[in-house]
Amino acid sequence: MPDQDHKCTCSEQPLVPTIVEVIDIIDRTPDVKSFFVRNVDGNGVPFQVAPGQCGMVSHLPIGEAMISCTWQEEQEYLEFAIKRVGLLTDELHQIEVGQKIGVRGPYGNGFPVDACKGRDMVFIAGGIGLAPLRSFIKYCFKNRADYGKITILYGSRSKADLCFKEELFELWPQETNTEVFVTIDNAQADWDGHVGFVPSYMEEVNPSSQGAIAVVCGPPIMIKFVLQSLEKMGYNDDQVITTLEMRMKCGIGKCGRCNIGSEFICLDGPVYYLKQLRDLPPEW
């Protein structure tokens, strides 16, 4: 909802990026890479991000794109997991460690991490959609006592396309009171896990809606079916959170294009309770 009290801690020139250095790059999948950035003087990060907030990442001679900050490690780095889909992201995938790039932000409202305290958390993601949820998931583990049972349900097209494999298969399952379920769309030889789409797998796993909050992010078609399934499973509209993606240019509610009704998703979103989305025109 229009946020009139947004207290400005932002720069005097919100559309001008800060130059940062790429200090590490990790291949997450054949078309997703994580980029770790830090201030050029080696000290600290250009801004503080809350889980679910985004940054406008620019390869200056090419262009800019809105990317969720998948993790901020204290003052060490900001991590952006970026999928190669077009002009800018293709170029970003070519760069090497040491490259200077631009970032501006933080943008968006972020996840309601405080309002979720004390609740069981169910995270449901598809493909690159795990990137934004991961900031919330890692935040929960960092503040483990504040949250109840954690269920993570993640799917992608194939085994190779699963992002953050080490966390999915090794780190997260070891956390207390945590279950991780992973699925891929089609069977393949070196995969003995679950095969099938996320929504139907979720219905199989059937995480209880009692006192739980479900957080959903993925391709629009997955979100659509997951929301239907959650409803069937007894989740109310104020127990479901999702994050929206619209085309963005400015990130600060000025350039116009990311609106749904009178909301600007870059500024008022991208995180919404399903309950709030039901009041918006059906353009999401």
Binding site: L60, P61, I252
Partner: protein, 338 residues
Amino acid sequence: MKVLSKAKLEAALNKLSDRNEVFVPMQKGQQSGYFTWKSFENGQDELMLDALNVYQSPKNAVLPQTEKMYSIKSQGVEVNIDQTYEDAHPTIIFGARGCDVKGIIAMDDVFLTRGYEDSFYKARRSGNTIIANACYEPGANCFCNAMEVNSLEPVGADVILRDAGDGYVWEVKSDKGEAVTALIADLLEEKEAKLPEVKPFIQKVDYSGVAEKLKSMFDHPLWDKLSQPCINCGMCTYVCPSCYCFDIQVKMWGEEGYRFRAWDSCMFEEYSREAGGGNPRGASKERFRQRFLHKLEFFKERYGTPLCTGCGRCIIVCPTDINIVRIIDAVKEAEINA
């Protein structure tokens, strides 16, 4: 009252232009719009202070059609922004009508509120003074009165001019207005002047309740019918005094270049197309609906006032004869099935 006699108008514009870039409505070749007084060519160009709405609105003075943002230098792994281009040089919009003043005041809401101040807009606006020209005789397509604009007392003007026959009554409204008045103090006379009679509006438009009614009309079948002729050319958004949407692009020559912004339009398919090809407003109708809902509903919900200022320009330029007044009428008349 202070009066600027028409015989001294050119002297006043010359004087104001010493220290300011003065945008004045004029006909220049095929175009009419707000051009700088310095560019005025005697015998060729024609001052259009009497015309109600020249083709282009003065929004260019505060939100240029294209505007440089910052320089880029890129060599190997190094990249630098040596310069940003906030531009606060003094400008005056001379003779703006109430609808066009409202367009800028609406853009002030967008660019200067809600947590972020756009540094480029802020700079231009800080150097900008608006000298408005009150309207006593509305034109054939004017309906600003229906859109919460008072054309006799334009809110946000720094000076208001009132055409009193052989001179303009000169009413100062703000400190900025005071400052530009000081520049031409010796040209103003203190005398009585007779103001013209206020003529009625020809267009009868009733916007009351339209924003509220539209809230439940997103899926109404009337959009199919209304949008049918629209070819999404974007003319209406370009001539609009309050359409502010912009695109951000980059221009590089080898290792150097700059990022700039340029007017954009929700009527264009590319405007909201996402990576991967998805587009929430891929269909012509969806973009048409966005424009009119933004003007008549969304902006009012967010900022408390409609984004249409009633200038009537889009009615004149639309090649397919789409008329926002008829759209307001159609919404008023539409039946809503609960």
